[in-house]
Subunit: 383 residues, 2 copies
């Protein structure tokens, strides 16, 4: 492969877990890698709960995405072990699994439809009666009507993940440039990777929109959280999750709002606390330590954009990349943390010159604009 | 009167609105005054809503306290005008009045009992049907069943009040010593005034206990609060108030908890937001800007301690004041802001040598320990 004179092999734009992991993997493959972000880890990941939930997040009509979620979740144990071994960081990877809990008859019927679908895909899921639920988590409300255990739906602490990746990049010799990038044509690198979350839209013209999420951070008295599983609840028609950390923190989330501001609203906090306290009454005694809002990067089908960016501009002057070879890794919506290992491997493979993996076919960045049978005659690689 | 050599006439311990106002009034009477507080305005007042509510806060069996509340509220217009004239500060004094609102039939019955009592005292109160309530405040929930207008129950912004008092003290030549006081016998002053809130217990031995309150600060979108009155609600058995400020802030409060910590809890935030949104649904769209907790100084009968402190110690060595002449102005519980003008006048009068006002008889600091017919033969003045 050729390098631009004085430049890097790969310039990664965006220092969330996705961009950092791509940079790490690229560097491990021998590619000279630079990462640009004025504040790594300050975007959507700073508000992510870190659920690794391929099963609980498998929804009707999203089988392609589900395959990617399952694939990436399966890579998580190895990814976590490697990252911890390299950096010495504890990233809060926990494998107690996820309990889905319903409160009302309507909640149960809604959940049962999805469980049947998830079972039809042979995903690991065990239905539990109310008594079995409470045997596993005695702190659950007496109103719990039934639920399901998803033993392979784990969790990690995204802020610890970012700290570990920061150390890993340093050890791997990746240069982190604390500057924003507003124009890809200014970057001196053979391949540019856009992993800039919601900022990817302005850099590429791709349809990435902000999807606001609000979360709460609670702290258990004495640091002792009264439950071990990730709890995902259907509570009187409201959906909520509670993610217990070993250090006494519980993350409660999350709203899904079609707007991009970062304002914490009274209504969102009310709905999250109401649903959470309906599921686990003891959290009323917990400290409300923080409430946060941030924007996830969403796409028209809410699946990520992964692969080579085919420039749609007829006139090269309209090409925002200035003729760069551009890889895109964004639009992960609610799935950025779970999809981090797979995204990093697949994008680093492409940056290193590999042919696109067949699993990427459904996530092509141009899928909303390209002709049904894309050609490859434009001098740029395709996936 | 005599001054101790090199000392002040009056040393005020505690720089909340009470202590600051006492110091201001003492200085205006020609008394050389020093105020001690490491962080003026950082105690209970920093979390106070600033309701001046002699009527709404008039409860069964508290007629003596009600008289003091009514007297002090009547002094507020003059106090506010004087403070603003002297300092140029806008202290957020607003006179739109208070609307009490009930949601359920039970709420209304509970409120009606209290309204009947308040009417029996000839307090200014006008009962309103639901339609009249909503004519005054169209943002009220359609569930509002009826309520009452208390036109003389006003509001002030306690943080602005503290800032204005700080300027007033500076202009009046009061020395503010930014140090904590832990031993009254170290103070070189003819009269010591203890206005130290919850800290007064350790300084005097008097029965002052912390009563925790939690409040929320919301911000209206665009700074435009959709209601003008202070709203006090009975919402499905929960009591809540919402205090609208001209700058777009709304204070929602408050819990009353028999504990002294400053932890904001999930349960308190949930209950405050639920009740507030039940009364005024639009607040769901407001920003939740801050949640705070602090301790109010409570007494066994929840009325303040105002007057000369009679030392109960048989052995002078056990006297925590070291033989100082000590005035007490603490234990204001939920009423510190409304009682500020009267407290300042009455205590400054005593510090200046006046005989105790008859209105102080019910608030003597020793009322929980003194014999029924106190003597005055102990070398200390009495109220």
């Amino acid at each position: 492969m050729t390098r631009s004179a004085g430049g890097a092999d790969v310039a990664v734009v965006g220092g969330g877990p996705i961009g950092m992991s791509i940079a790490w993997r690229c560097s491990q493959r021998g590619l000279r890698t630079v990462l640009y972000d004025p504040a790594p880890g300050s975007g959507a990941s700073s508000v992510a709960a870190g659920m690794l939930a391929p099963v609980a997040e498998s929804n009707f009509g999203e089988t392609t995405l589900t395959r990617l979620l399952v694939d990436s979740a399966a890579r998580w144990p190895g990814f976590a072990a490697e990252l911890t071994a390299v950096t010495g960081h504890d990233i809060g990877y926990r494998t107690e699994g996820t309990l889905v809990v319903t409160l009302t008859a309507d909640d149960r019927r809604e959940a049962e439809r999805l469980w049947a679908y998830q079972q039809s895909l042979d995903l690991p899921i065990t239905l539990l009666r109310a008594t079995a639920l409470r045997d596993r988590e005695p702190a659950l409300s007496p109103r719990a009507r039934g639920g399901a255990l998803m033993p392979d739906d784990h969790q990690v602490d995204p802020r610890r993940l970012v700290a570990a990746l920061d150390t890993a990049l340093d050890r791997a010799g990746v240069t982190v440039v604390p500057q924003p990038v507003t124009d890809l044509s200014t970057l001196d690198a053979r391949v540019v990777v856009v992993a800039a979350g919601c900022g990817s839209a302005a850099l590429t013209g791709l349809p990435v929109r902000p999807v606001k999420g609000q979360i709460l951070r609670l702290r258990a008295p004495g640091g002792a959280v009264g439950f071990q599983h990730v709890i995902r609840g259907y509570a009187d028609g409201r959906h909520v999750y509670l993610v217990p950390r070993a250090d006494g923190e519980v993350v409660v989330g999350a709203t899904v709002e079609e707007r991009g501001d970062a304002t914490v609203t009274a209504g969102a906090v009310l709905e999250l606390l109401r649903a959470a306290a309906d599921l686990l009454p003891e959290i009323a005694e917990y400290e409300l330590a923080q409430a946060q809002a941030a924007a996830r990067p969403g796409t028209p089908d809410n699946a990520p954009l992964l692969g080579w960016h085919r420039i749609a501009a007829d006139d090269p002057a309209d090409d925002p990349t200035g003729g760069r070879q551009v890889l895109v890794a964004t639009g992960h919506h609610r799935h950025g943390i779970v999809l981090t290992p797979s995204t990093a491997e697949l994008i680093a493979d492409l940056a290193g010159g590999a042919e696109p993996d067949s699993g990427l076919a459904g996530f092509r960045p141009d899928r909303f604009t390209a002709p049904t049978a894309p050609t490859t005659g434009e001098g740029k690689p395709w996936n």
